[in-house]
């Protein structure tokens, strides 16, 4: 494999990891606060549709992004109401959100655009454009470093860089601030937070809100950056892979990034090497390559990660005991 192939593979790894990473961090905030969220998928999907639709109608990708975040936040609020305020089952609420998003996006898309459940193609200012970082001209000629900078680091959309920045930001927020301390505490032992005079409900709603914003960005990225418009079921299980990455990363931001890069790489590889003969094996069916990330998810979660200890109060509604 020459350097160029390698760089191109890395480049698409970054592109494909971005939505996973954002969704994974979204789940991280939610689950660290004690709220299971298997509705990441649904929130991303809703965000993808609304960002694509609004970006098309308004012609502005930024309005699209806002709409995506709004849609995702609205679903987060539903999840919050069900699981925090009314102390319902968080899994059921999450499943409901996934179904709701899967159905509604297609129905509304058909109603608005009449193109069989997709939005029209986005172009120009309705999509996030690739950003060329400064100094590409100057560094481009330097051997090795030049191509790495130009091909791999430069030339991504705004959201890719934003997602990368979210990792240290999430770490700092969780482990270096008062808010982070309380957030982690409420996911481990809400009674400790409550008796310290802090509102468990408010804290959990904030966490679920952060989760909504991040999922919104992830969904908008799918429709307005990675692809040009919304298509049916375009999240394709990314919300669940993000959850798997979250467990794999043991609910920590930096390992979460590494896990998402791994899953992103597998997806990139499955696209890059489609139809190419493998040495010694011959031609591998496309379906096999496409299934690889999912197979790996199962294998990793089944045995390779050791004991993953979830935040202790995760999934449990908080009730004051008598």
């Amino acid at each position: 494999m020459d350097l160029m192939t390698f760089l191109q593979l890395g480049d698409s790894t970054f592109r494909l990891s971005t939505p996973l990473l954002l969704a994974c961090l979204a789940g991280l905030f939610s689950e660290r606060a004690g709220i299971f969220d298997i509705g990441l998928e649904g929130k991303m999907l809703a965000a993808a549709f609304f960002s694509g639709a609004i970006a098309f109608v308004s012609g502005s990708v930024w309005l699209g992004l806002l709409a995506g975040i709004g849609a995702s936040l609205a679903l987060s609020l539903v999840h919050g109401l069900a699981s925090i305020t009314f102390r319902g089952n968080q899994l059921i609420s999450g499943v409901a959100i996934n179904f709701l998003a899967a159905g509604l996006t297609v129905v509304v898309a058909q109603d608005w655009f009449g193109q069989g459940g997709r939005t029209p193609q986005l172009a120009g200012a309705a999509r996030f454009q690739n950003i060329t970082l400064p100094f590409t001209e100057q560094i481009g000629h330097v051997p090795f470093l030049g191509p790495v900078y130009v091909e791999l680091i430069s030339g991504h959309t705004f959201i890719v860089y934003l997602a990368a920045l979210c990792v240290p930001a999430a770490w700092w927020l969780l482990f270096r601030t008062r808010f982070g301390l309380r957030l982690r505490a409420v996911g481990e032992n809400p009674a400790a937070v409550d008796t310290a005079g802090i509102s468990v409900v408010r804290l959990r709603f904030v966490a679920v809100g952060i989760c909504g914003v991040l999922c919104g960005i992830a969904g908008a990225y799918l429709a307005t950056a990675l692809q040009a418009g919304f298509i049916k079921d375009m999240t394709a299980g990314r919300g669940f892979i993000a959850l798997a990455a979250l467990i794999f990363a043991k609910w920590k931001p930096v390992p979460a990034m590494l896990a998402c890069l791994l899953f992103g790489f597998l997806e990139a590889a499955s696209i890059r090497f489609q139809g190419q003969p493998w040495p010694g094996i011959g031609r591998v069916p496309v379906q096999f390559m496409q299934a690889l990330p999912y197979v790996l998810t199962v294998i990793l979660l089944a045995g390779f990660i050791g004991r993953a200890v979830a935040p202790k109060a995760s999934g449990l509604p908080y009730t004051k005991e008598r």
Binding site: F175, R176, T177, R178, F179, G180, L181, R182, R184, A185, E188, N189, A191, A192, V193, D194, T195, A196, G197, I198, K312, K320, R322
Partner: protein, 510 residues
């Protein structure tokens, strides 16, 4: 007279139809230790939860240091200078001591400066009050005694002048309890006001200045501790005279009923919970197993009762019992004459959503007297049987159709004890027979155990209550870290010596 640190006036609180607190008034002077004693469900914890802002009282006033104070939530309680150490600690297990102490009392949005200040503050408090705790230790790595100190530190860090402790010694070894009391004494010397909630008369007598007694949501008396006595307090708690001591004749041990040789238990995480222990229980004696909770007593009961696999040999009446094979189940054990009153009646002893008559048949439901024919059970016979047992054991209300969860703790326990004892077993395994049981029922259950012993049955008693072990047992074995630290005769030992053994320290005699 100076102003009381706390004054409650006419506090009432109802949970649905249950009146948990009825018109309660109380005055606690600053710089004193005030005990609140009462049976389970008497309303002690509810009262303190109202004072700490966990619940809102339906009626009544709270006065702190002579000022009427509203306490709608815990934040207000903390601001009013009240700190609470709950029975079940409110600590985040994978946080450090330091992080737990500052949680909710941070100085600003960033953690670093807060933690630095807290570290200095903790050092000062540690020197002042014998409250030594490693600030960087994780809560999950330190013992319960330490965890309790963290809870106290949390309150002191928030500058509490009034400290409420809810059943603080339940989880402590006697030595740890002594240490706690020393800490409380030094806090008192510094002018802090302490409220101690407990159901242990000994602690009230040992450390409090004044004591209030609660019964069924009402405050029945407030007296100076020096002017009262344990029997008087017990009578005030229960509403009738209570025998605090168990009356029993000397044991007349007969043949070996239970012989345990080299028993080991490894849990599913691969940790050895019981390490190669051997002992025996004879007919007509009670062997008490003392120890701090979590030192292998539960696993021992489970292994003997047939729901925990083990290695080694167990002989009952000289015959080995199957420890791993198809005959290792609880039903076979029961058929061999082993009855079992499990430690946790709500989880292991009863099905809370089933009716009393069903619960009283469980484990013995396959016996012929409960069958109508080959396919159908005889419900009428089961209900009649339950009714008889309820009458014999004075279970109230004596209605077999009630759900297990609608009985009080003491009556639930009586149901379990009745089920097991009435089968006339050769060997009775009993775990924590009086945990969460009121004094009246404790007296009754103790009498039943002694009566069973006097019929020539063997009893293995596991309890974390040292008083219970001392008063019931004919022989005492102390467990620590999965091993038996030593055996003592109750007449020849003291709570202090047993306490040391429970902490894993062998004296010169052992």
């Amino acid at each position: 007279m100076s102003t009381p640190a706390i004054e409650l006036k006419g506090i009432s609180k109802a949970f649905g139809p249950v009146q948990a607190n009825k018109d309660i008034s109380i005055r606690v002077m600053p710089g004193t230790i005030h005990g609140i004693i009462g049976e389970n469900g008497a309303g002690k914890s509810t009262l303190m939860s109202i004072l700490y802002g966990f619940y809102k009282a339906d009626a009544g006033e709270i006065w702190i240091n002579g000022k009427k104070t509203e306490i709608p939530d815990s934040q207000h309680a903390i601001r009013a200078g009240i700190g609470m150490v709950f029975q079940h600690f409110k600590l985040v297990e994978n946080f450090t001591v330091l992080e737990n102490v500052v949680l909710g009392a941070e100085d600003g949005a960033l953690l670093r400066p807060t933690l630095a200040r807290a570290r200095a503050q903790l050092k000062k408090l540690a020197e002042e009050y014998e409250l030594n705790v490693d600030p960087d230790a994780l809560i999950e790595d330190i013992g319960v005694g330490m965890q309790q100190r963290v809870e106290i530190l949390k309150s002191l860090y928030r500058q509490a002048d009034i400290l409420i402790l809810d059943e603080p010694t339940g989880v402590l070894t006697p030595a740890e309890a002594d240490h706690l009391f020393r800490i409380l004494e030094s806090l008192k010397r510094e002018g802090k006001t302490i409220i101690l909630i407990t159901h242990k008369l000994r602690e009230i007598m040992e450390i409090t200045d004044t004591v209030s007694v609660m019964r069924r949501g009402e405050m029945t008396a407030t007296v100076r501790t020096a002017d009262t006595s344990p029997p008087e307090l017990a009578e005030l708690m229960v509403g009738r005279k209570v025998l605090l001591r168990v009356e029993k004749a000397p044991a007349r041990p007969g043949d070996k009923v239970l012989e345990v040789r080299n028993l080991s238990v490894t849990d599913d995480k691969g940790v050895k919970r019981i390490k190669d222990i051997s002992f025996e229980v004879r007919a007509g004696e009670i062997l008490g197993i003392a120890g701090v909770a979590g030192n292998g007593q539960s696993e021992l009961l489970e292994a003997l009762g047939g729901y925990q696999s083990a290695t080694g040999t167990i002989l009952v009446n000289g015959q080995p019992i199957d420890l791993t094979g198809s005959k290792s189940d609880g039903r076979t054990r029961r058929d061999r004459g082993i009855a079992h009153v499990p430690e946790d009646r709500q989880r292991e002893g009863l099905i809370m959503d089933f009716q009393a008559w069903e619960n009283v048949a469980f484990g013995y439901h396959h016996r012929p007297e409960y069958q109508k024919n080959r396919f159908l059970m005889d419900h009428a016979a089961m209900k009649a049987d339950c009714e008889r047992k309820m009458e014999r054991f004075d279970v109230r209300p004596p209605n077999p159709m009630l759900l297990a969860k609608s009985f009080s703790g003491g009556n639930q326990q009586k149901l379990v004890v009745a089920r097991e004892i009435e089968r006339n077993p050769d060997l009775l395994l009993v775990g924590q027979p009086t945990r969460g049981v009121d004094i009246g029922a404790i007296e009754f259950i103790h009498q039943q155990l002694v009566a069973l012993r006097d019929q020539g049955k063997a009893i293995l008693l596991v309890s974390v209550e040292l008083d219970e072990i001392l008063s019931l047992s004919d022989r005492i074995a102390v467990m620590f870290d999965g091993q038996i630290m030593g055996e003592r005769m109750p007449a020849e030992t003291t709570a202090k010596e047993l306490g040391l053994l429970m902490a894993g320290i062998r004296g010169e005699a052992a």
